[in-house]
Symmetry: C2
Subunit: 285 residues, 2 copies
Amino acid sequence: MIAPFGTRLDSVFGSKGHLCVGVDPHPYLLTEWGLTVDAAGVRSFGLAVVEAVAASEWVGIVKPQVAFFEAYGSAGFAALEDVLAAARDAGLLVIGDAKRGDIGSTNDGYAAAWLTPGSPLEIDALTVTAFTGVGALGGLFDRAEAAGKGVFVLSATSNPESRGLQTARTAGASGVSVSRLVADEVAERNTDRTRLGDFGLVLGATKRLDDYGFAAEALRTLSTTPVLAPGFGFQGAEFPVIPHVFGPLAPNTVVSVSRSILQHGAAGLAAAIAADADALAEVIA
Amino acid sequence: MIAPFGTRLDSVFGSKGHLCVGVDPHPYLLTEWGLTVDAAGVRSFGLAVVEAVAASEWVGIVKPQVAFFEAYGSAGFAALEDVLAAARDAGLLVIGDAKRGDIGSTNDGYAAAWLTPGSPLEIDALTVTAFTGVGALGGLFDRAEAAGKGVFVLSATSNPESRGLQTARTAGASGVSVSRLVADEVAERNTDRTRLGDFGLVLGATKRLDDYGFAAEALRTLSTTPVLAPGFGFQGAEFPVIPHVFGPLAPNTVVSVSRSILQHGAAGLAAAIAADADALAEVIA
């Protein structure tokens, strides 16, 4: 019986730290790396990143960006399957950044694909979108939990265009922001409050979370909820902001860095990863 | 040069009508059809549906549900590619129901996959989610438009759990619902108001749209916006509600039916499609 995702994530935090390396084979990076812009290129790119992370003593999490594999159709997914297999074999925790999400039984298809032991696209946790309401994801959450998998739900995203929608307030005197509504409903799923939960939030590090409806007190009520934090490096956030942005959630944070590491090319990956891991360890013990 | 998606959709409405048959190979349907629950099963299922629709004089649109192919990983996507190729060869308009959506350049990957002429997963229009704000989809919209493709953005979804999030109101005196915010921002992209637009909305037929912030006047301002309307049949809506639910948008509506047709099995598809097409023609000329 595999341990719950939250427990496994906490264990990686303790043994390897909070850094997560994105596997984002943008076409321009493939070209910069001297790779072909096709399925073979994204396979080589992904395997090189996994190899560099696996060789690092201080990183235990990778986050493939599925869109950059999907761009090449079934051949791209076959490449992703090889990359995921290499990551599993290396004992890395894998967060699939696919932003999936639909209603009802349609989500069963996504759960079968990503959160099912033995499936070719098996990962440890999946990013999902809850535009349809967190309640629509219940079946997917159930399947994840049963398999020891995790889910990260978009709550306050790192992009500049997110504000209007995500700060809209729900009806009634106790209205909260959309970001907070999602966060509270996800946090409710983490019923065992004695450990890090299996259901987490994507919270952009480029934001002031109180602008998105998270007062300091709100963050405390989420205290066992894991956080996936993109927005570092290329998108502008720097590690020292982590305690200020995430407050009591800082110890739960997966700190995701992609292009600012990947731009160093295959030969420069190891040094770039080590530098970021060192810098991050100064901020989150 | 291919005609714009909206023009092509309007042409199908005129020649074939508004019915869209979902290609939703739920595992239980595969079993009921006597097919294997694997990539070969979804391929056979999808090809059979495409063949039945192509043989019908009164249906010109299919909507594969990507999750049910994705469930089988790269092999499932290879099956989907075969189904999409068959649909293209049959001259059908294909709406890929994938609910994709991310920020910035990540969306380029999804556009490359689905909305690029010659790509193995090429379709005519893609369903997307705008939790990150419609503005984050700008690049995807641009790429769709340049290729004569369309996009349907989730606005008011057919599931019961959607209400809290989608009825939240944006800040300020002129606050609108999340559903309406998305709708207005999508409609703004349809700059040529003399024809049906390329950018549409997913509006569930199971809803009272005024509950989601669409007063009758709001629907009139969307008058050149296409609508993808799920929720018929299995989810409970019936065709005669269309004029009441969609008002001035009824003539723009893609009426999507899946399980209530698919449950008839391969042998019963043609009759089920004909019956629904007849019934729908009574409602939308």
